[in-house]
Amino acid sequence: MIRLEKRPQPSKAWSLATPLVAVLATMLAGGLLFAILGKDPVEAIRTIFWEPLFGEFAFYYRPQLLVKGAPLVLIAIGLSLGFKAGIWNIGAEGQYIMGALFGAGVGLAFYPLEAWYIFPLMVIAGGFGGWLWASIPAYLKVRFGTNEILVSLMLVYVAEQFLASMSLGLMKNPEGFGFPGSRNLQQYESAYNADLIAGTGMHWGVVAALIAVIFAYVLLNRHMTGYHIRLTGEAPRAAKFAGVNPSRLILFCLGTSGILAGLAGLFEVSGPSGQVSIDFNVGYGFTAIIVAFLGRLHPVGILLAGGLMALTYIGGDIAQANLQLPSSAIQVFQGMLLFFLLAFDLLTNFRLSFGKPEVA
């Protein structure tokens, strides 16, 4: 008989080893899936994990990993603060959209003026947009006790309608022959969030993501607010006695995650994406929730998890083209990877023991 015994302390060794075990298990199960679909499993796995990092065209894909991973990490860091305290913001997608709209709106309002202060103003506006959108569920929760899961999710759909309305109306490119979508900010120097060193993929969003990781690490480990966050999540009653103000914590956690999601949107719209369009958002806000948990809500873990997700996206697209794998197979593969990562996490906190339970 196999039983689980909780470890007194999470195992350090296993917490490092489980992701590797999980990736290997995914390769096996995924290989089986690809073989069933009639594709060469070894080649498929190699394409997904190896090609973007060390393949012939890795010089191009490596920077793309930063471009794809940065928004995920930036958003996930913000979400992890709230999740640790039991505050559930699942509307980051909406905050991401509003950040992009506010930021791009400021940039477009200045067009065609060229000045150094335009981009910093856009950054502030982007953060503000995200903060504003996240503050609605935060305020309603503090004032009326409404559930933030529901409100933040509903606001995603509202933000999507705003986005469509803006791309078709107010922000539409006046030189775009009536087609939807704003001017391309990549062609507006003062508003363009270009690579800091050309060709590296290292734009301001990547820098911001790295800063956010450090900020979150320091906050959680060295700062009173971080202590309050952890305490509230782990022992809500103790937190009350410790004098934690729950309202302030809700406003702080939702607000911070909103700012970071808004910034992610702003850096995306002014850089890699370039324009406000109906389909500007591609689900980073939802994927970031998975990234946050894969990284076990730990800043460094989130950094690694964001990189892994980005890798499977990029490798998955290469596998689609090279092996004609349907994109749904890649989705299933990603799902498997997440399942295995979550399942094997068990070994960190529990010990498998065989045989009969000892008499207590």
């Binding site: 190699r46 894909y61 469509a164 939807p180 369009s277 697209d317 083209a321 349907p326």
Partner: protein, 358 residues
């Protein structure tokens, strides 16, 4: 670990070997915005890709990536195809316009074809689109004759020029054969949500429409019309023949095959040049699906005559006199619309009620 290494190197050798053999055929890439199983827009582009394979066999190798989001993902996938030796790349969504041009600037030897856009920044970019509004003219004619309630329902996706052009064309031709006709327009504000499309169709039918035109790709409105009984519909993007002979009485089919074959051929022959193609019924890019027996013979004959006139160019779907909704003159008697105005159309013609959401 050794075994893995061995397997990896074996696989790499295998990969290199196939790459060496594969240098001969012309490599054509396709970037899709939706899944090939969407039964509509992307599905029809993939039918075009399959036609290219059927036409050229071993002389061509096609690759595609589906579900590619607009923006940086599209730019990465297009670059990836160019890096891996594609000779010709079709990018099949309006939102791929800037990514396509960005990548084209970096790969002067690769040819790029962007659907439904207008930017051709470099010599290696072409654009192509279909004059679906010609098909709408045929639909409008049938709709005007067939409606008994004189109410035609129209389901739009987003208020973009493509959709507005279709509404205007259908309305003008319905009005021509039936002066009492009235259009009820519902915007779904989504490209894809079958449940919402079903609701929209039901709402229109409940409000008295007995003809439903749709500019969304799912068959949901067809099923709603069938359930309601005495309502007719038209297939959109694909033929939707499974709903014929009624409610589906005809359809507009996106047929990209002739164009994709011709452009692939041009790359093979070395005759490819940057062009701006906007083809309609005449060139076969817009197909009119079989008009079913639910339509009276004389109406069918009239619709087919219109189709023939549009095909041979003797008639333009936007021929004056046409007045804009606000009462200002647009086209004088006998004057036809220029492509620039049509491409960016953002106004209704006179007689349509309501405002275009801005």
């Amino acid at each position: 670990m050794k075994l893995t290494n061995l397997l990896t190197s074996a696989a790499m050798a295998l990969g290199l070997a196939t790459a060496a053999v594969a240098e001969d055929p012309t490599k054509v890439g396709f970037v899709y915005v939706g899944p090939v199983g969407d039964g509509g827009w992307t599905y029809e582009h993939d039918q075009g890709r399959k036609a290219v394979v059927a036409e050229f066999g071993d002389k061509v190798e096609t690759v595609y990536v589906e579900n590619v989001a607009e923006g940086p993902d599209a730019e990465r996938v297009i670059t990836q195809m160019a890096l891996q030796g594609a000779d010709l790349i079709f990018t099949t969504s309006f939102g791929y316009m800037d990514p396509t041009n960005n990548v084209a600037a970096k790969f002067p030897d690769v040819k790029f074809e962007h659907a439904t856009g207008y930017k051709r920044n470099t010599e290696n970019v072409s654009t192509y689109s279909a004059r679906f509004y010609e098909g709408r003219a045929v639909q409008g004619t049938i709709a005007g004759h067939m409606t008994e309630s004189n109410i035609v329902g129209y389901i739009g996706s987003y208020p973009i020029p493509e959709v507005i052009r279709g509404i205007n064309s259908a309305y003008i031709h319905a009005k021509k054969v039936n002066p009492d006709v009235e259009f009820k327009i519902v915007w779904a504000f989504t490209w894809f949500d079958p449940a919402k499309e079903a609701d929209a169709a039901k709402v229109l039918i409940e409000q008295g429409a007995d003809v439903i035109l749709q500019h969304t790709d799912s068959t949901a409105p067809q099923a709603a019309a069938q359930a309601a009984g005495n309502v007719i519909t038209f297939g959109q993007a694909s033929d939707m023949a499974e709903y014929g002979p009624k409610p589906r009485v005809s359809s507009i089919i996106d047929d990209w095959a002739p164009y994709y074959i011709a452009r692939t051929k041009a790359v093979m022959d070395g005759t490819w040049t940057s062009t701006d193609t906007w083809d309609g019924i005449g060139a076969g890019m817009v197909g009119i699906g079989e008009i079913s027996d639910a339509v009276p013979a004389e109406v069918k004959a009239e619709a087919l005559a219109l189709k023939a006139a549009l095909a041979d160019g003797s008639y333009h779907a936007f021929t004056g006199p046409i007045t804009k909704q606000d009462g200002s003159a647009w086209l004088a008697d006998g004057e036809t619309a220029d492509d620039g105005t049509l491409a960016g159309m953002n106004f209704y013609v006179e007689g349509i009620e309501g405002d275009i959401p801005q």
